[in-house]
């Protein structure tokens, strides 16, 4: 999840509780295995586009449409060849097309929920503290890895060790050692410091923690959930051939 602050205002009509989004993710995962036809995939993507428009993620909508469109056209084009390597490519493209709704889910989960909201939501569904704290630290350190990798790459350059695909293929174990050892060394130190900082801020306090946002279910959450469930039932019937 990106570091920049995601501006959320719970009083907005398009603010959906993270817990509802978690349920939506689960339903979407089941639907992925229900959908069999190309029309079903397109319907699924269309629904994700509606959801993303509702959440106000217009850039993601554009990317999702491009991704699906290109893959769909490619599938149509490749379905004329049924033998040779074209068929193998066809299978690949088809699998990627099947996962197009997942891209929409990915955008929804990463671009519209901040890390702290997610952790808060998971704490509300009674996940043990050990998991939520670990998850919070994991999310916080995602961007830091990139910075550390840049530093490691620079120091490798100083020692005249190029870090690219060719050098990785030439000596994979050695490159793995060169990259992983400094990274792990650094993060062991960081873990100790961060733990001390967190203890000072009272993370070991038992009991329920508060939140900056007012987290509760609102009217729009129930409506959203109802629409998602209705849509899932509709798609199931559509795929089973009940409708049309």
């Amino acid at each position: 999840m990106n570091q920049e602050l995601i501006v959320t205002n719970p009083s907005n009509i398009n603010y959906i509780d993270p817990r509802v989004k978690l349920i939506h993710t689960l339903i979407a995962g089941i639907l992925l295995f229900v959908v069999r036809s190309n029309e079903g995939v397109l319907l699924n993507v269309a629904f994700m586009i509606v959801v993303l428009v509702f959440l106000g993620l217009y850039g993601c909508v554009l990317r999702l449409i491009t991704y699906t469109g290109v893959l769909f056209l490619l599938t149509k084009f490749l379905s004329y060849f049924t033998d040779g390597p074209a068929a193998l490519i066809g299978v690949t493209v088809y699998i990627f097309l099947k996962f197009a709704p997942v891209l929409g889910i990915y955008y929804m989960m990463t671009k519209s929920i901040s890390a702290s909201e997610l952790v808060n939501a998971l704490e509300r569904i009674r996940l043990p503290r050990s998991i939520t704290i670990t998850l919070a630290v994991t999310l916080r350190f995602m961007p830091t890895i990139g910075q550390e990798m840049k530093i490691i790459r620079d120091s490798m350059k100083i020692r005249n060790i190029p870090f690219n695909l060719w050098s990785v293929l030439k000596a994979p174990i050695m490159m793995m050692e060169f990259v992983l050892v400094p990274l792990m060394m650094r993060f062991v130190k960081v873990a100790e410091e961060l733990a001390a900082a967190a203890v000072v801020r009272g993370i070991e306090k038992s009991g329920r923690r508060g939140s900056m946002f007012d987290v509760r279910f609102r009217k729009q959450d129930f409506i959203y959930l109802l629409i998602v469930i209705l849509y899932a039932i509709f798609l199931y019937n559509f795929e089973m051939g009940v409708i049309i």
Binding site: T82, L88, T92, V137, T138, L180, M185
Partner: protein
């Protein structure tokens, strides 16, 4: 968290932070590898094997540093949740189930036996394999059904033989490769820990 009589037996905040940071590294590695190997299913079958080879020093370090119940389970659950949020729900189930098995194996000697840790790591990577490869087979089946149903009368023998190969020896090979690289990874991981971390006094 609450300090009972056995303080050093329970996971402290330091362990959580350590596991969290290293889960971040593992997750980043997994994502980068998925993008690179996702070019074709043939290469993608080897993705868990490559992943098992690379991330073994990280798991070994976590196991050696934490040495308490949860050193395998908590990172695997966190990774399962993260992958699940990104849409790979099969990984949640397999990572949690195999994480519990790995945890029980490693914890049976209180994380003191190197062989147990290695076996636990291999088991966990098998769970990762099951979760990340299973959807491919499901979707290939559907593709064949659709292709044979849609374009009637065309010659499907080539594609069928290809898929059969992928199902029989390529699939079996990828499982065996995954086990071998995971085991090889633990050997390398042990070496790296000996060479760098024991010398620096971090373990």
């Amino acid at each position: 968290m609450e300090s009972n009589q056995q303080l050093n037996k329970k996971l402290g905040i330091k362990d959580f932070v350590l596991m969290g940071i290293f889960s971040a590294i593992i997750f980043a590695l997994a994502t980068v590898l998925m993008i690179i190997t996702g070019v074709t299913p043939a290469v993608y079958l080897l993705y868990p094997a490559i992943f098992a080879l690379i991330c073994s020093p990280i798991f070994m370090l976590v196991a050696v540093k934490v040495q308490k119940f949860g050193a395998f389970l908590i990172p695997s659950v966190v990774m399962g949740i993260l992958f699940g949020l990104m849409g790979a729900q099969t990984l949640i189930i397999t990572l949690i189930v195999f994480g519990i098995i790995a945890e029980l194996i490693a914890n049976s000697r209180k994380y003191n036996d190197y062989n147990r840790i290695a076996i636990a790591y291999v088991v966990l990577m098998l769970g990762f394999y099951a979760g990340s490869i299973a959807p491919i087979y499901v979707f290939t089946d559907w593709y064949i059904k659709q292709a044979t149903g849609g374009v009637a009368g065309t010659d499907m023998t080539y594609l069928n033989s290809l898929i059969e190969a992928a199902k029989s020896w390529l699939g079996a090979m990828s499982v065996i490769t995954c086990v071998i690289t995971a085991w090889l990874g633990t050997v390398i991981g042990k070496r790296i820990l000996k060479k760098h971390f024991e010398k620096a006094g971090l373990v």
